[in-house]
Symmetry: D3
Subunit: 245 residues, 6 copies
Amino acid sequence: METTVKKSALVVSAHSADFVWRAGGAIALHASRGYDVHVVCLSFGERGESAKLWRKGNMTEALVKQHRQKEAEAAAEILGASIEFFDLGDYPLRADKETLFRLADVFRKIQPHFVLTHSIQDPYNYDHPLAANLTQEARIIAQAEGYRPGEPIIGAPPVYCFEPHQPEQCNWKPDVLLDITSVWDKKYAAIQCMAGQEHLWEYYTRVAQQRGVQAKRNVGITSPNVISHGEGYQSLFPRVTEDLS
Amino acid sequence: METTVKKSALVVSAHSADFVWRAGGAIALHASRGYDVHVVCLSFGERGESAKLWRKGNMTEALVKQHRQKEAEAAAEILGASIEFFDLGDYPLRADKETLFRLADVFRKIQPHFVLTHSIQDPYNYDHPLAANLTQEARIIAQAEGYRPGEPIIGAPPVYCFEPHQPEQCNWKPDVLLDITSVWDKKYAAIQCMAGQEHLWEYYTRVAQQRGVQAKRNVGITSPNVISHGEGYQSLFPRVTEDLS
Amino acid sequence: METTVKKSALVVSAHSADFVWRAGGAIALHASRGYDVHVVCLSFGERGESAKLWRKGNMTEALVKQHRQKEAEAAAEILGASIEFFDLGDYPLRADKETLFRLADVFRKIQPHFVLTHSIQDPYNYDHPLAANLTQEARIIAQAEGYRPGEPIIGAPPVYCFEPHQPEQCNWKPDVLLDITSVWDKKYAAIQCMAGQEHLWEYYTRVAQQRGVQAKRNVGITSPNVISHGEGYQSLFPRVTEDLS
Amino acid sequence: METTVKKSALVVSAHSADFVWRAGGAIALHASRGYDVHVVCLSFGERGESAKLWRKGNMTEALVKQHRQKEAEAAAEILGASIEFFDLGDYPLRADKETLFRLADVFRKIQPHFVLTHSIQDPYNYDHPLAANLTQEARIIAQAEGYRPGEPIIGAPPVYCFEPHQPEQCNWKPDVLLDITSVWDKKYAAIQCMAGQEHLWEYYTRVAQQRGVQAKRNVGITSPNVISHGEGYQSLFPRVTEDLS
Amino acid sequence: METTVKKSALVVSAHSADFVWRAGGAIALHASRGYDVHVVCLSFGERGESAKLWRKGNMTEALVKQHRQKEAEAAAEILGASIEFFDLGDYPLRADKETLFRLADVFRKIQPHFVLTHSIQDPYNYDHPLAANLTQEARIIAQAEGYRPGEPIIGAPPVYCFEPHQPEQCNWKPDVLLDITSVWDKKYAAIQCMAGQEHLWEYYTRVAQQRGVQAKRNVGITSPNVISHGEGYQSLFPRVTEDLS
Amino acid sequence: METTVKKSALVVSAHSADFVWRAGGAIALHASRGYDVHVVCLSFGERGESAKLWRKGNMTEALVKQHRQKEAEAAAEILGASIEFFDLGDYPLRADKETLFRLADVFRKIQPHFVLTHSIQDPYNYDHPLAANLTQEARIIAQAEGYRPGEPIIGAPPVYCFEPHQPEQCNWKPDVLLDITSVWDKKYAAIQCMAGQEHLWEYYTRVAQQRGVQAKRNVGITSPNVISHGEGYQSLFPRVTEDLS
């Protein structure tokens, strides 16, 4: 029976904090509903997204990574997700065939019901589109009967791109607004783990409030739902459904 | 309690057969699930979509309209929908403010949970985008507190564009694939009411089969769902949800 | 000498509050720098954007308009702009040839150095694109030697689309981020004139903060500029310059 | 036999000089190959494209039109086309149902093998897109069996948009480069009929040279064709063929 | 004299069956008209497109490749094309500089009059865009005088993208509809060689029928051509012509 | 004080002549205004853009490069820029991580106030988009505190794409028209250094004239500016400003 299978989700994050700002609500929400949510951080963002740490002085790349890993683990725990780190390096992030297979194997193991990752374009950050494309291609490999033949393949889980820092500049257009009102406190607690990027806490709080207002607007003011916080997502595939309302 | 309110849907069709080819599955499916589905035909397609009738000879516009109305009523009955005709004329279809208000009033009366209409672009058929824009604007009017103040306004029902005859040429890209397998027999029966356009019966059967294969592909081959027929839709607004799987 | 000619700007607003939310910073900023800024409100937004007033009860369209006019006049005064009202009606806004010429005549009189108006697309609000297109066409008429021959024609002032309520859904992409830090207090004071739309005050405050962060990001963290609030604009024409930095 | 039917083409020009600058090569080329080419000028461009005439002083709209008509007739004669004038007025050009039917009737009479008109977008000139849309819709009406039933309908002639003044700003992208080398002298002679717009003679000579270089580039430098002048066109419909080379 | 040179075409297929589903009609049609058509299969699709073979059990990659090669050779023979296999591996397909030069050398040898390959985007299959880009870049290398100086370079053959599995999702828009009615029997015979993908036989039969109906629609119902089957293509470069009909 | 810091600009050119045709005006103009302008040529264009040299016979790649380097140095001197050559090879141009860091180091050293490079798309030339992406990514690396920690990072200089050979085919749309009238003589002198590509001299002269006319058109005919030559640019980031006129 389908109901006995635990549902799962996979989140692929270029740097170790992206999953918090961009998908923390989705993670906490689905975790709270019984999903196993697994996060893969491709890098720690040690070069490009740790400015505050570097400015402290007396830093090495190893130390920065350590800091960032602890923050990410703390955030994942608050959100209710498991987490692993590929440690591929950032600025630039690069992925060879072995990395592709490594991620495909995660897909095979997790058998996700949906997938979250970065937008396909981002002129401010080349690591993000690379992560998105790696995720997409790994999903395709994991669907192939001829890759590690005999292993169970995966289905066709929907893939959603989470919100980039400057959405319009990335030609990112949300077609899904996720109501994260019920888990906002968890997301904000996870955000506060990111000690090195305090300047972003209020920025992403406001993002959540704006998407909340928009979600409210798109269900209509006659709806009884109270929505204060949201997250936007862009689907990469059509969804299959039997109900249009 | 929400469950006691009957759900409803509104379909706006430029010509009297469009709703059958393009949305017959959605109509039958939701009718079968208890929705009140209402169809508005803006014209009978008497000039532009009744070639076979005109070629019979001894025809007048009034006779053509009569024929087309009967066909559409028969199809609506099979699909389980109510239907009305605005008789605005076609080729070209034109709509003034009064028509806009008339359609806004239908919105107010139906209070639809979702709306189906044409694509926003169609270089082969200027009546179709006009219908789509009229529908969109009527929905906006019906949401306004200041239009017929005191009347109950409508919420923000999602609007879906159904598939045009040559989808790529209309820059129409489906983001929803509706599984209409369970009602295909009804849709095909409704299609057969369109005696004047027999050349399209098999065309739209194949459209349904192709969208069925694509729906199957997008749920994944590991899914137990058997999908043989589908309909594609393009959303005009983001959907609001609490579940991404 | 060019410096003796006073610079001017024209703002065309579909409803009587749009210019405040969307362009209040630009208006106050340029007014403070000596520009004559003139606002044309095509309608009062009496039907579509006055929900709170209608809910009070005992309202008529005339009363709502009166309210809205007073609010808009108060806001314009704070921002330092002159204002006039075309009273064309809203939901739907419609413009005939006479309106087009009336607006062209405003262009001729104002001789604006730049123009602000709505985005070209907005699926949530059909009055907005209509206002944008009316503005564009009036500008073209005002440039024509054969329109009221003998009158001084206008040049080719740049046209900027201000930010719609849900920017991505309107395919609006800002290519200009205006630093409105120095006039934010005026903009917020003007916003507070809009008593009927209190729910939008904080929404548009956050919009300004987000655009401020993005402006800061796009000048670079090494820049000495302190930017706390911004407004985004999309240009409709290429700008002509002699300096790329 | 197909070869006994004379081929024909229809060109719809918003103002009385557009067909010369933008399609003079295509007209002369096809006329020289035996096509009947017919030009419809929707207006004389009396307001918006006759600046030089107005500046002479002592002008009336009637006089300007007279001038412009003579120029256009002279150009058409050189190019080998017949011409007619709808005299709808310009800046703004507007078309009602009667105009639509009038143009549909021209389609029916000419039975064109291809159609040339303006681009679908032009932020510098709202008359141009209006002409393009009018042409497209008239073509659709002329295809309908129910429009003037009994009259021979038209087929599905390809429609090409000719080059606007600032192509990139109009999102116009040529997919056809017409080699007009053999008729360039005729096009330039026709261009010289436009005494009121002398500043454009060299501009459009350079356009032809640039499109010539591009055509040469797109046939390849190994091709024996000598191409010095070209015209770019954007198709609105797919072409049907049996040969891809 | 140009007429004595035999015409040729090059088809680049990511996996060993793609050229059959997607371009079998074009191949058979041009072969029947005297073209030398050459197919390059970059991989056998052994991992990603051989599910049925893998499910048989007792399979190795070598065996799967053997099977696929035989099927592809049989199909090519029916269509009248020569074929070669680069055996680069699939899921993922990757190409280094040597592969690029190898394909450029094929271009030099074949001197194609046109080129067929995959679409530039395909979110379901990353091998397809890679093949398209490899083909495009190899064509550019083969045009360069400085690549293997002294060898005859190639001209500028048009490149057409054939239809992907889910066209709208790939942003693929056909601007050419090829009438393959006369060779449909050959294409279907070739399709039947693909024993491992029987589920696609009817899918691609319906694709051909739909494109046939659309081709008929785009030549017009007044045309005497009988078109029952078609293939859609998207051009990547403008075509150069002297006739627009 | 800001005024004491000398302004600088960085130009990244895929082949050794691109910076002349495409950005020679911008370089000369800013050099004449006191900027330090530095050009990086990633390759000499020895394979793909030196056809005339190769046709002379008795050529080797080393000789071609030598020729091209001299031409480029002469052109740079005329324009007033410093120049360096990465000698990465062309057709195909490829860049590994070391090249990326090498270019990032140039960014760090130059600290440019603006950056010029190729368009993001070019179906005729795959080296051009590669150069554009390399430039964008190097800029991002150079902004990262964790790349060579302790070194001064760069700000967020605007990046402009210069005009490709066939602009519409590259989906390149200029949003900036640079008035290069005052330095046209220098640009044309630099162009004449490119002895191997004489066929392009007049082509790019006409490009400059057309962009000049368009610049004139976009400032308006009432402006006193005399503009005879221009260069078009497409911005990749929004600009931040305090003045919209």
